[in-house]
């Protein structure tokens, strides 16, 4: 088996989009050049299991060009058939097609494992978990894996705690170059702009309720405010809520805020965050969407069970009549809107994440004796990713002076230290 894609003839359009992305991914290009020059991944079998769009394709191609034997899979709902065709055209085995359902997705992931990857570059840890459950013989030959999402690192730590994890995994998600930028700036921009585009609704003068003020929620709030929305934040964590207040946002309960919302964007990653009562309290014409997110973050199944009826569907906008009688527009059935209905996070932000992924692969392959656990990417590698990106944005970084270094290294108080009188 050398791949399963929808239509090989789509490759040209996919290649064009990959070319555009690659031209704006300086970190990925720099690190893959180094991997190639050093021969770090030459002949190494690497499975890439990720959302399949132009930016991830750039990483898969970069690893292949650096000499790795790369195989790619992706869930159907996250697959762009043009990009899949472009990767197949470049000679990579690709198991992904947009019309694949849950069972075909699993078959595709298993097909990737049939290539016996020594390293898995994962998004959501589904393939890392699958190889442990279904292909222990493949796990035995693996050198490690990288995982780039919060929701993927969590079960991996659980696996480690229960003694089930058999390979070293680098939590690329936890690197600062990834976590401080991808969620806030990347998802913030892509979710807010996708909401406006999919709903065909300017945010100017609108009341936007942002549910959850973590990294994703704070980015969404910031971008919505930049586009002229009045933002209300809802939170369960008092510290995060206080941060929102100090950023200038009104902080209310969701039950209070729902009644005056034009748009509700959930950013908690927790099921049933926007529950039936919240949906029922929304004014007619309100829009509901999920950024980041998990299944049923908007409790749509429960809403239907409570009597909500879909009365219209226009593209990715489903209009529900709630038991209260109000009409609520749900964007893309409550799926992760920026991925499912737009092009995902901006290219340069993903470049940071993929730079971290490549640095993680390099760390796995060049560090002997890593045990079967979840590892952090070393600070120096994280810093290098940020420094390359900073240079591409036109910034320059200072260096620590000798006097500063001496101060930082000493624990003995200076005799004439200020402020001790």
């Amino acid at each position: 088996m050398t791949g399963r894609i929808a239509d090989p003839a789509l490759w040209r359009a996919g290649q064009d989009r990959i070319d555009w992305a690659r031209a704006h991914m300086p970190v990925t290009v720099a690190l893959s050049d180094r991997l190639r020059a050093a021969g770090t991944v030459a002949g190494v079998r690497i499975g890439v299991s990720d959302v399949l769009e132009p930016k991830t394709a750039t990483v898969a191609l970069a690893l292949a060009e650096a000499g790795a034997e790369v195989t790619v899979t992706s869930a159907g709902r996250n697959t762009d058939d043009e990009v899949a065709a472009a990767l197949a055209h470049a000679g990579l085995p690709v198991y992904a097609r947009a019309d694949a359902g849950r069972s075909a997705d699993r078959e595709n992931a298993l097909a990737l494992l049939d290539h016996r990857p020594e390293v898995i570059v994962d998004d959501g840890a589904s393939t890392i978990r699958l190889v442990h459950l279904e292909r222990p013989d493949v796990v035995a030959e693996m050198r490690g894996a990288t995982e780039q999402t919060t929701s993927g690192v969590r079960p991996l730590r659980r696996m480690h705690a229960e003694g089930a994890l058999r390979i070293p995994v680098v939590a690329a998600n936890d690197a600062r170059s990834k976590s401080l930028f991808d969620n806030r700036h990347g998802t913030g921009q892509s979710v807010v702009f996708a909401v406006a585009d999919v709903a065909d609704r300017s945010l100017r003068g609108a009341t936007v309720v942002v549910v959850g003020y973590g990294r994703v929620g704070s980015g969404i709030a910031e971008h919505a405010a930049a586009l002229g929305a009045r933002v209300i934040v809802t939170e369960t964590d008092p510290v995060a809520a206080l941060q929102a207040a100090f950023a200038g946002f009104a902080v209310r309960t969701l039950a209070q805020a729902a009644a005056e919302a034009d748009i509700v964007i959930s950013a908690t990653g927790i099921r049933h965050t926007v529950d039936v009562a919240h949906l029922d309290a929304l004014p007619t014409g309100a829009i509901v969407a999920v950024g980041g997110g998990v299944s049923q973050e908007i409790a749509l199944d429960a809403a239907r069970a409570a009597g909500a009826i879909e009365i219209a569907r226009d593209g990715a906008v489903s209009t529900l009549r709630m038991p209260s009688g109000s009409l609520v527009h749900v964007l893309d059935d409550g799926n992760c809107l920026n991925v499912s209905a737009a092009e995902g996070n901006p290219v340069q932000i993903m470049d940071l994440s993929f730079g971290v992924q490549l640095a993680s692969v390099e760390y796995l392959l060049t560090t002997p004796g890593l045990d079967a656990a979840v590892h952090e990417l070393p600070r120096a590698a994280d810093d290098e990713v940020a420094a390359i990106a900073l240079a591409s944005f036109g910034g320059t970084v200072d260096t620590v002076s000798t006097a500063q270094r001496e101060f930082l290294a000493s624990w003995i108080a200076e005799e004439e230290e200020e402020g001790d009188e």
Binding site: E222, E343, G394
Partner: protein, 259 residues
């Protein structure tokens, strides 16, 4: 024309709520309204539909009312246009705005609105202007200010240049680098620029610059209109009706279009 199929008698009130309410208030029969200035003319098919369905004939003429003479229209237009431009740049390039350096060229409210939005979402904004009053305000608001003549001599990367068409001439686009978006009302700032295709739809290359096509502020031929284009058209008609029947009462216009 298929793009204006939505403009039917049962939908016009949703698409043009303010102007039709005013139109009915004065119970006029066919109103012929004309506007001048930088906004583009309506596509013929829409003009015909508007006349047949709503009883409004909207013409673009040299001596028509310039909507930008109304401060309230300028405010509404600049905010909605800034939103439209930033959304188009984001969707058509899939590139980040946070972290980038953006030059906003121009002296008017659109340059102000773009600068405010971009700064809020994390871009470093440079105001490019030769107008001393604009430069004073921009400097005191914490923006870096550049003269137009300095645009092509940079010692740092500029990722996006936004041409607002407000108070400046035609810039030599091919001396710029990075993305360029012509946010002027009718695309006049780059009308003469020749581009070659890039690997990305809606993006053409001119020298070291990539020109990102912008949607028109008003409905266009062959493209389904966005809600922002309908909203600006609604505001334009309302303004012209108020100009004819209510002596151009800008306060009333502002009240009518405030969401």
């Amino acid at each position: 024309m298929s793009s204006f199929r939505s403009f039917t008698p049962d939908r016009i009130d949703a698409l043009l709520p303010v102007s039709l309410r005013l139109h009915r208030e004065w119970r006029s029969a066919l109103e012929t309204l004309s506007y001048g200035g930088a906004l583009p003319p309506l596509p013929l098919a829409l003009r015909t539909s508007l006349r047949d369905v709503a009883g409004l004939d909207l013409a673009h003429t040299l001596d028509g009312v310039d909507p930008f003479a109304s401060p309230a229209f300028g405010i509404l237009y600049s905010r909605l246009r800034a939103d439209q431009v930033l959304r188009a740049v984001s969707a058509r390039t899939n590139l980040t705005l946070a972290g980038t350096t953006v030059t906003a060229v121009g002296d008017g409210p659109l340059a102000d609105a773009l600068s405010t939005s971009l700064r809020t979402l994390g871009a470093a904004v440079i105001r490019a202007t030769d107008a001393p009053v604009t430069a004073l305000a921009a400097r005191l608001d914490g923006f870096r200010v550049q003269a137009l003549g300095e645009l092509s001599s940079r010692d740092f990367p500029v990722h996006l240049t936004l041409l607002t068409g407000e108070g400046h001439g035609i810039l030599p686009i091919d001396t710029l680098e990075g993305l360029v978006a012509d946010a002027s009302p009718g695309g006049a700032a780059t009308a003469e620029v020749r581009t070659s295709p890039s690997s990305r739809p809606f993006v053409g290359q001119a020298g070291a610059a990539f020109l990102v096509e912008m949607p028109s502020p008003l409905p266009e031929a062959e493209v389904p209109p966005s809600s922002t284009q309908w909203r600006l058209l609604d505001a334009l008609i309302a303004l012209l009706l108020l100009d004819r029947h209510d002596a151009g009462d800008d306060d009333r216009f502002a009240r009518e279009v405030t969401p």
